[in-house]
């Protein structure tokens, strides 16, 4: 258990931050396109 506490996966956090930013930008673009195309009811 000690072994795991000593190891700080900072690089993993860095990669995931980049991933999350990409996710928000791409998903957000698709979502905004949806809003721009308007209602259906």
């Amino acid at each position: 258990m000690k072994n795991q506490e000593e190891f700080q996966p900072k690089g993993t956090v860095a990669i995931l931050v980049v991933f999350v930013i990409t996710l928000i930008v791409l998903w957000g673009t698709i979502y905004l396109t949806l809003l721009q195309r308007g209602g259906t009811v």
């Binding site: 258990m1 072994n3 795991q4 190891f7 996966p9 900072k10 690089g11 993993t12 860095a14 990669i15 995931l16 991933f19 990409t22 996710l23 791409l26 998903w27 698709i30 979502y31 396109t33 949806l34 195309r37 259906t40």
Partner: protein, 550 residues
């Protein structure tokens, strides 16, 4: 170091090899049609040259989809899981004959389904939505493939039970645990399509009943259709969690969370099929929204996987001298084709996840349903995250099984990179076209409504498809070269199974107990599907006769 001296017997090795052989032959045939579709989109239609062997784009598309998405995956997976169960439990199959019977059923089913497809009597794609009606042998054949895989699964259960008896109180070794779980998930998931086949499609195609209910058939189909992708994905996750870390010199970062992720997949994979039916007329929006929330929640174990796997790899990279926030990635053994293939597969799988989260987002599906965004998405997931990983696995597994050295590892590495690059070009274009409104499953080269602004993207689809095809050829060259090579491995290939960073004995006992998780999964299915299934079956309208429209 624990000594890993256990080895499969020659018979067991050959049994697993047969699975992989059928899988690869299917992939070779199925992949042949990929570039034909991509080129057709780009304005180069090669289908006329295949007359009279292959009658149409859609027959080619059916072959591509069935052979790659159903046959390649199912055969590779049952083979790989068989290997994992035996090697993980370090004991032979309890009833090898049972597994052999299962495999034979799969082969019989495959042949039965292949004949009508090749004769253009089943050009209904791999979703076979009624009331399009294929030859009965197509439905019976596919059903037999599934039943055969069930029988192989029963073989796993008996083997696992025997191991349990021999090793009371011990934690199940991860690769065996995860493999048995994948099979349990598959057996629950395929109930939907089994009911569809047995109560509708098979009697209908045999002429025993005249009409079917296409809406109810869709509900049955997608009960199976989504967890199907987890059946494809989990074996790749087994490799990413438990094998890849060893290959890069690391350890499993969290043995417990790896197990938790698998349990969550078992719990959440099935009760969310309505997210494939968001724009169906016959399902109420309330239930669609419930399934949307459940779909988002099954994204969670994948986010967990992203962290755990990445940290396991980082641990290995840092031990190899990797430094920096991002630079450690370069310290991974990229020269090993098995590692390169799986790292690139994982990288593109991130983007597959993003597209999946868009498809799954309830009304966002109005923008994307049945557009090229969807095949763009699943070529990142099943055709890369899964398929490229399986290719990576085969770069060590085939030498292990055959005792032959991997033929031309350089070509294998090129294969991984070409697949990666080709897929980026292909799938990016498919996603963009989808948002612009391009329909999927359509011979776009013949479509009169294609606006000029799509043309550059359609060309990219063709270019990407071409590069992928070269990648595929390299894969088969390496596999054939290895099989026929005369160069034996010096000593048996070491099976990469990573140790855990924490002692395995510290895994909580509730992460190794089946009953609560399986019951909870079944309960969640009853809650999420029960009311709608009851409603749709009670109001069944058997009003659709069959059509042959190709």
């Amino acid at each position: 170091m624990t000594a890993q001296t256990y080895s499969l017997s020659p018979k067991e090795k050959s049994f697993v090899s047969w699975h992989l052989l059928v899988a690869m032959v299917a992939l070779a045939l199925g992949t042949l049609f990929g570039p034909l579709q991509a080129f057709q989109h780009a304005g180069l239609n090669l289908y006329p040259f295949l007359q009279p062997l292959i009658k149409s784009y859609y027959q080619g598309l059916t072959l591509h989809a069935v052979l790659n998405a159903l046959v390649w995956t199912t055969f590779f997976i049952t083979g790989f899981l068989t290997f994992n169960v035996i090697y993980g439990l370090k004991r032979p199959l309890r009833y090898p004959t049972l597994n052999q019977v299962g495999f034979c059923l799969m082969i019989i089913g495959l042949v039965m389904a292949a004949i009508p497809i090749l004769l253009n009597k089943a050009s209904v794609l791999y979703t076979f939505y009624p009331p399009m009606k294929a030859h009965w042998a197509y439905y019976v054949g596919l059903t037999l493939v599934v039943v055969g895989s069930w029988v192989e699964g029963y073989g796993f259960y008996f083997t696992y039970a025997a191991w349990r008896k021999e090793n009371p109180g011990e934690r199940t070794p991860f690769i065996a645990f995860a493999s048995v779980l994948t099979m349990v998930l598959w057996q629950i998931a395929t109930l939907g399509v089994a009911v569809e086949m047995l109560t509708m499609l098979i009697p209908w195609s045999l002429g025993l009943i005249e009409t079917v209910d296409p809406q109810l058939a869709r509900t049955y189909f997608w009960f199976t259709g989504h967890p199907l992708v987890y059946f494809w994905l989990l074996p790749a996750y087994i490799s990413w969690y438990a094998m890849l870390p060893k290959q890069v010199g690391g350890k499993m970062f969290s043995y417990s969370l790896a197990r938790l992720a698998f349990w969550l997949f078992l719990l959440l994979s099935v009760p969310l099929g309505f997210h494939h039916q968001y724009v169906d007329p016959g399902v109420p929006p309330g239930w669609k929204f419930v399934h949307a929330v459940l779909t988002f929640s099954v994204f969670f174990p994948s986010l967990l996987t992203a962290f755990t796997v990445s940290a396991s790899l980082e641990y290995g990279a840092r031990k190899n001298g990797g430094t920096g926030l991002f630079r450690w990635v370069l310290a991974l053994p990229w020269r090993d084709p098995s590692v390169a293939a799986q790292l690139l597969a994982g990288l593109l799988f991130f983007f597959g996840g993003i597209g999946g989260l868009a498809n799954a987002a309830y009304n966002v599906n109005l923008e994307l349903h049945n557009t090229t965004f969807v095949p763009g998405h699943f070529h990142l997931t099943v055709a890369t995250g899964v398929t490229l990983s399986f290719m990576g696995v085969s770069y060590w597994l085939v030498p292990y099984l055959t005792g032959k050295k991997l033929w031309k590892p350089d070509l294998a590495r090129w294969q991984a990179w070409l697949w990666f690059i080709g897929m980026i070009i292909f799938s990016n274009a498919m996603h963009v076209l989808g948002i612009l409104g391009a329909p999927r499953r359509t011979a776009l080269g013949d479509a009169p409504y294609v606006p000029a602004e799509w043309n550059s993207r359609l060309l990219q689809v063709g270019i990407g498809g071409g590069i992928l095809f070269i990648g595929a050829i390299l894969y088969f060259a390496v596999m054939i070269g290895t099989a026929f090579s005369k160069v034996k491995v010096e000593k048996e290939v070491e099976v990469p199974v990573a140790e855990a960073l924490q002692p395995v004995s510290q895994t909580p006992a509730w992460l190794d107990r089946w009953a609560p998780w399986v019951y909870a999964a079944l309960a969640l299915i009853v809650i999420a599907y029960g009311p709608q299934l009851y409603e749709q079956i009670r109001n069944i309208s058997l009003t659709s006769p069959g059509f042959r429209v190709w």
